[in-house]
């Protein structure tokens, strides 16, 4: 249960973003309306066997990491070297590339938060970080050597489990910062990043922790990419910077991306008392399920209930709605109509940062949360790039008898969806993310006064 009087502040952020060397460059590129998407050589290397070749990816070299290949296992990373000495060899030994990103981002977030060693290592500090996929790169090589090359299992050594287990990112971060509170991982597919932040918010709000490192990470992995490529759900046929086009009439899929976003959350009064800079205050978090038995299809009813739950205990309304906005044909239309159903047709703007950096899967929710905090900080709305033309016709489902949402085509809502970044007064932002399995998450953040 919520503890009366406890509020949750965002006091630190760190992350790994395609084509950006740090958070400042990420911010600069986002508000300059740039795309972080590129043609991916790892995909084009497979010729016609792979359907889509555009991605938001980060290489080891771009992160100043070097792979040390195993001398006894084919294509198996024995460990990594951090050329900037941010992470020790002992911590690198237990980490896959996503976990390394989580550790680097955590150090940045804690530095920004200004937590002392005593605060960081406290029983009141938790770690809640998740990933959408497993340690696919590690597992693929280990399994290939065992099953196909008939090598002994011991050649994979001791770091096959710690580098591939579901909560490896949280575990590695916890071992790095030596916190003594909770260490867990929430998994909710493409809502994972926001789900972990929402869970961390509750840990503080409910009085269970005073500080939590939270977020999501999705390490670059062609294996992860392939899963979505095989589903035929990835964008194709456009140049990289035009590939992610939420709400546009010609959208034909999402752009798979990789990255990480980690935030430092702290009980508001404690943060204020030590003079911390409050980047944002989390007002509400709500999550639910569609309940319609459909693994993939978005649910208008589920999203209606999501909004109802989010707004149930607040009179605040968002100035910006940071949508999930993946650029898939079905998802975007349902989402925009559910936003309009909840908030009306005016008084806010819709921001779709996936149009700039693609869909970071398990990291999407946390990186987009960071993008939203940057919108609060900059007092500017991030755009929905490539939303060039909105359909002037009703969506097919809007003609069905069961449809009880807005009966207007998407083009009517053109003014809500900026194609370029622009300045405006922003006090409150709602962030939305959904995932396979019919899971829905929403959070509301505000400027501190």
């Amino acid at each position: 249960m919520q503890v009366s009087g406890r509020k949750v502040a965002v006091v630190g952020m760190g992350g790994v973003f395609p084509t950006c060397s740090n958070l400042a460059e990420f911010k600069e590129k986002l508000f300059a309306n740039e795309s972080l998407l590129r043609e991916w050589d790892k995909a084009t290397a497979h010729g016609k066997n792979i359907r889509s070749t555009v991605a938001g990816f980060v290489t080891e070299a771009e992160m100043d990491l070097e792979i040390i290949p195993s001398s006894i296992m084919e294509n198996y990373p024995e460990t990594y070297i951090d050329k900037l000495n941010r992470i020790s060899a002992n911590n690198l030994a237990t980490a896959d590339v996503g976990s390394i990103w989580a550790m680097i981002s955590t150090l940045d977030a804690i530095k920004m938060a200004g937590w002392s060693t005593e605060e960081t290592e406290s029983e009141q500090t938790g770690v809640v970080i998740g990933s959408g996929g497993g340690g696919h790169e590690i597992l693929r090589a280990a399994w290939h050597n065992f099953f196909e090359l008939k090598k002994k299992s011991r050649l994979a050594g001791s770091h096959n489990v710690d580098r591939a287990m579901v909560y490896r990112d949280a575990a590695n971060v916890s071992c790095l910062i030596k916190n003594k509170g909770v260490c867990e991982s929430i998994g909710s597919a493409c809502a994972t990043g926001l789900g972990n932040i929402g869970y961390a918010y509750r840990l503080i709000k409910f009085g269970l922790q005073d500080r939590v490192i939270a977020g999501g990470v999705e390490g670059t992995s062609i294996e992860t990419f392939l899963g979505f490529d095989s589903m035929q759900v990835l964008s194709r046929g456009f140049s990289p910077e035009k590939s992610s086009r939420p709400f546009d009439i010609n959208r034909n899929g999402f752009v798979c991306a990789f990255g990480g976003g980690i935030v430092a959350l702290e009980e508001y009064d404690l943060a204020k008392a030590r003079g911390a800079k409050i980047l944002a205050v989390i007002d509400e978090y709500f999550n639910n399920s569609d309940g319609d038995g459909d693994m993939f299809a978005p649910s208008f009813a589920g999203q209606q209930r999501l909004w109802k739950g989010l707004l149930a205990n607040t009179t605040k309304r968002p100035d910006v709605v940071k949508v999930h906005g993946t650029s898939t044909p079905a998802g975007d239309a349902i989402e925009l109509l559910s936003v309009v159903d909840a908030l009306g047709e005016t008084g806010y703007h819709v921001s779709a940062p996936k149009s700039q950096f693609g869909h970071m899967l398990g990291a999407a929710g946390s990186v987009e949360f960071i993008a939203s905090v940057l919108m609060l900080e900059n007092q500017a709305v991030l755009p929905c790039l490539n939303s060039d033309e909105l359909s002037e016709n009703l969506e097919g489902f809007q003609n069905s008898e069961q449809w009880n949402g807005p009966k207007k085509p998407l083009s009517v809502f053109r003014d809500l969806i900026p194609q370029q970044s622009f300045q405006k007064e922003i006090n409150t932002i709602t962030c939305l993310n959904y995932g396979f399995g019919g899971t829905n998450s929403a959070i509301m953040i505000s400027k501190d006064y």
Partner: protein, 86 residues
């Protein structure tokens, strides 16, 4: 290959294990304990054993690895014993 040459080869393997401080590898003897003296994480022992198998072109029995001690002497003994068996 005598015991001293085997130790030299083992040290070469240990130099590739990044969780071991290379400065500790200057005076490795048969009495050196991987865990107590070199601060090798115990989880690295199986990685070292696998690299030893490759370097010396031998294959240890699972039981021998299970029973392996943590001193350099123990692995030198096992290398020699395994080579003699093959």
């Amino acid at each position: 290959m005598d015991r001293q040459e085997i130790i030299k080869e083992i040290v070469e393997i240990l130099k590739t294990v990044r969780t071991i401080n290379p400065e500790k590898l200057d005076n490795v003897t048969e009495d050196t304990d991987f865990i107590a003296d070199l601060n090798t994480p115990s989880t690295e022992m199986i990685n070292i054993a696998a690299k030893v198998e490759q370097k010396f072109d031998i294959e240890f029995e699972d039981d021998d690895i299970d029973d392996l001690g943590s001193k350099v002497r123990d692995i030198v003994d096992l290398i020699i014993a395994t080579k003699e068996k093959e």
